[in-house]
Symmetry: C3
Subunit: 443 residues, 3 copies
């Protein structure tokens, strides 16, 4: 079949090179030691603010947010373990993963046995440094490769963690793009991970370029990009913005968008929201391998948005899900793991979802009794009897048949098996010929 | 299991030879040059009227029918292309497919190059003449085999199409069989195709014998057989009969019923109407290969009946669907393509669907608490403990269990996995023993 | 994943040896000649009453029960066929299956030809004696192995059936265990079969031990164990207890629970009741092969409980269903066919279903907005960032996410894919921490 509709994902020409730009931003953010609070997050947000209009919020330590309390702010200058010769055998300056994130300050001399109680390794990947945290329990520790652990010899070690854990603030940033309506699409990235690229600098950087792209467009929905620490960040934001949550019509949590794996969409809790349908359709018609997974209360901040008291229509777009790639939460989640090509592909898919949501509407066939005479309007081939229908004609017939007020364009695409782009194009043509009228949505 | 219920499709004895009779009628109608208007349709309807009571309608050119207008009437006496030697190298008298249907009159002398702009072939089947139309755009043309096209030499050609395209009428015919109720089953055949056998003389001829068969029966439903040109015919009929459409409880568009392919049923737009269920059940229990396809707004006049403003419960029964057999819309759709055996099989299947619809009812179990004691009525084997249940007993138990007012007999057949015939037979027996009562349908 | 929840089926330790005890009771009941009425049933019930508190009922012959009438009571002392030499070649004292159950008294001398009209064999298993009945049609007969039939020679035979068929009573027994609420779970076993072990002494004996086990527990539901003859027994009980049927919230018919086949659960008529869901979940998580079959009005007394006038939530738990094992209704359904291990497995599965029903409730998350802070309550690992979630944490998150009043614990288990035991354990922990509250059920 001949198609005259524009292909859905063809942003390639205009957006050539976007993968490289996203990767450059990942690289710039990579060295910063982020956590759920502290200067690392602030510095990250300041860099994002160079590229997009970002409103920063600071929420004081001790603020009660539902069942949680904003914790002390954590900052760190240096940390090391020195051997008897005074050599830094574990050195925060080489990798910020070496310190258990949120470690309390410590200065001590310990035997190897005492030290080992504070060491964390990933034996299954003996050359990689694991990433560990201790946000809500006062503790300290170091992470190192398992091979390095095996090499440690008996003797006294000097331990130093030059951190502070004191009243301060929790920081997050929002980029709001005003659209035609106050109805919002929320795009969320957790920003609390230190030097880890796929999880989640890939998404943070991608979201920045997505916001830039959308800021150049006339938008139906308003868009809110939220960059906040995992769990406590989304919970805090939900608490402070509870009054406006009903405006959120669609939401996407972005995570792990730069690795080589196939794209994965995790559905919202209710499982059949418009964002679920749009993401599913997009992936089904992407021409590439993909996976759709049901909601589970395990993962990223969709856990909070989809808690039963909110039950927001928020899904999660990933490539390989958290915990399912070997490099996850280790030093191997580095700049080599995320590639410009995969970032660009993820970027195009985000835009394709948004394209669907922006244009998805219900129309009413203005000639619902029998087919309208497309031929007299030049919309149908004049010589009949030939084989097969062209996709363009087929798309028009599907739109006309299902433009009954019960099907939005996405539902017509779903039922017809045609791509959304072809259906949307057919609807535009039919509307231009006054054969369709947009359905009034009750205010 | 032993079955004492009459098999569903066993019309073979009484209807032996029906396939041959249908084929004879196809053969008689074959030479006529039909179109969406004109003498060819009228002659066809007159032949049908020899066999069934047919009410003919004539709708004047220019009549507005929804978004369409009844076109000028087309008639043709002769057409040819002569070469420089005056030989008719393309000759309407050899095949009416040679002329693009609805060609305007033309008399001209043309070079080969000029002529070629008006020639249509089917290169993928180089020996066959394709069928082409130009109903709604004033044009003319000839169709010929691709091999013949390749043999045409340079030189001057004389072209003649002795047609008229003038105000007249659109013709259609109806055969109405009055049943016990005014509720109707509509059976529709398009009659606009010239010398093409499977599409759709097979269905036209079959419908005639179906109407004859039903006219000999006591009927619950009234039946309306409608023979009309494709698209404009059904649209015109719908416009002129709009007030009575609510009487249509079931409908079947018949097409391509004589080829060797398996039977195919295309569901109505809503997909779960009683005709959909009856046709599906019949095919599932036919013991032969079959296919059920979902509705799509592409195909025959179900497109009009199932447009959103009507949404009638009309499906389409075919063997190989239009466009899916190579001979479709070519000169190879001839008397050899349709066979008496396939026509008889399609005929039996139509009757089997009608048998279900005629007898499908809801019953109420008159002893709904526990099973009634079938044994004391002689309805159950007297020696117990043996293996397996006989189908006859099983069917009675299913009917009794589901005769709760929510299941019609067809639903009982569907859920039990038994054939409709066995369920119907069980219900008849139970009713005779006052164990069932027909449910009153709210008037 | 590490699991800290108790495994669902682990009753093995405490119940070691239960299979042997059940088998011993089967062996004790095996020789008795039971029928739908008579001393055999009474003697059986008296033996059951040694182990559980059993209330016996006697319903007089002639009592009308819905469409049925309680028949004459049948008792038998002796029966035989003697050859010309006076040898008992067929002898009731060797197997009570030799007599067609409910045979009227007879004393006669017959030729072989005359005799043969009253003989029943199972030619497909030539060494086994089939089981046959003639409850509702006055008749008599003998059952014998097919090989024995083939050996019979011409000559005169003396036939004696020393039975009585006279006004008396139909007997059944009930064991009622009072629980916290008047809502009941019904457990039904047919007790009408003579010397047949799997069908249904396996279930009768198992039910006795189930009643004993439950009698030692604090119960939410009240339990009614009903031991009654097939069909006429359940119909009689339903008639006499019609006023209280609305108390039955769940029911299980038990049959054929001791053979080597996989466990089979046959759903109730509506197919989605809580007992259906509980039995399905239990089997899915049993770690063994199983089968779930849809309801059909063929089988045991679920036919009566699930008749449309009652439509009770009663399923049927079996191993190999009736009629599907070769020994069914023959002398080969003996003490060797049922094994202690299979009886113990069936017993554990019954208890596992009951465990689910006893504890299945709806809870409301008391912190439904975002996740509650499990870490501060010691319910979450303190060091974060590691791979995977432990099942214990995952189960808590699932319970919290779905404790919205629309999901009971079983629904949470179903949706999460986790076992009911893990979900139940998580709910208990969360309730102890006041994170869940039981939902009030409207009285």
């Amino acid at each position: 079949m001949e198609s005259t509709a524009p292909p859905l994902l063809n942003v390639e020409d205009r957006l050539a090179g976007i993968g490289g730009e996203i990767h450059d931003l990942v690289a710039r953010l990579y060295p910063i030691c982020r956590s759920i609070t502290g200067e690392g997050v602030r510095e990250t947000l300041r860099i994002l603010a160079e590229q997009i209009q970002l409103e920063m919020s600071e929420v004081p330590t001790g603020t009660n947010v539902f069942d949680w309390t904003v914790p002390n702010e954590w900052n760190i200058r240096d940390a090391y373990v020195k051997n008897a010769s005074g050599e830094r055998i574990i050195d925060f300056r080489r990798s910020n993963l070496h310190v258990v994130n949120y470690s309390v300050p410590v200065r001590a001399r310990l035997s190897l046995m005492e030290l080992k109680e504070h060491l964390h390794t990933a034996p299954e990947h003996p050359d990689w440094i694991p990433y560990r945290t201790s946000y809500y329990s006062e503790d300290w520790g170091f992470c190192l490769s398992h091979n390095q652990l095996l090499e440690l010899t008996e003797g006294e070690y000097e331990v130093c963690i030059d951190s502070t854990l004191e009243p301060g603030h929790l920081s997050y940033g929002e980029c709001y793009l005003e659209g035609q309506t106050a109805d919002e699409m929320l795009i969320y990235c957790h920003v609390c991970h230190p030097s880890l690229c796929n999880d989640n600098l890939s998404s943070i950087a991608l979201a920045v370029f997505l916001a830039r792209e959308l800021s150049r467009r006339a938008l139906r929905y308003s868009y809110r990009f939220l960059f906040a620490p995992g769990a406590i960040g989304s919970i805090t934001w939900l608490r402070l913005n509870e009054a406006g949550l009903s405006k959120i019509k669609h939401g996407l949590v972005l995570s792990c968008l730069g690795d080589a794996g196939r794209s994965t969409y995790k559905k919202s809790r209710s499982g059949d929201t418009e964002i679920d349908r749009a993401a599913t359709h997009m992936l089904q018609h992407s021409g590439r391998d993909y996976e759709i997974v049901d909601f589970s209360p395990w993962g990223h901040d969709e856990r909070q948005f989809c808690s039963p008291g909110f039950d927001l229509p928020v899904g999660c777009l990933m490539r390989t899900p958290h915990g399912q790639f070997p490099e996850y939460h280790t030093s191997a989640d580095n700049l080599d793991l995320v590639k410009p090509g995969f970032l660009a592909d993820s970027f195009a898919k985000c835009l394709a979802i948004i394209d669907i949501l922006e244009s998805n509407r219900r129309y009413l066939n203005q000639n619902p009794k029998g087919e309208p005479h497309l031929g007299k309007r030049g919309l149908y081939r004049s010589i009949g009897g030939g084989p097969g229908g062209k996709e363009r004609e087929l798309a028009m017939l599907w739109v006309l048949n299902l433009a009954d007020g019960r099907h939005d364009l996405l539902a017509i695409a779903e039922r017809s098996g045609l791509g959304y782009g072809a259906i949307k194009y057919a609807a535009d043509v039919l509307r231009e010929h006054d054969l369709l009228r947009e359905m009034e949505v009750p205010g």
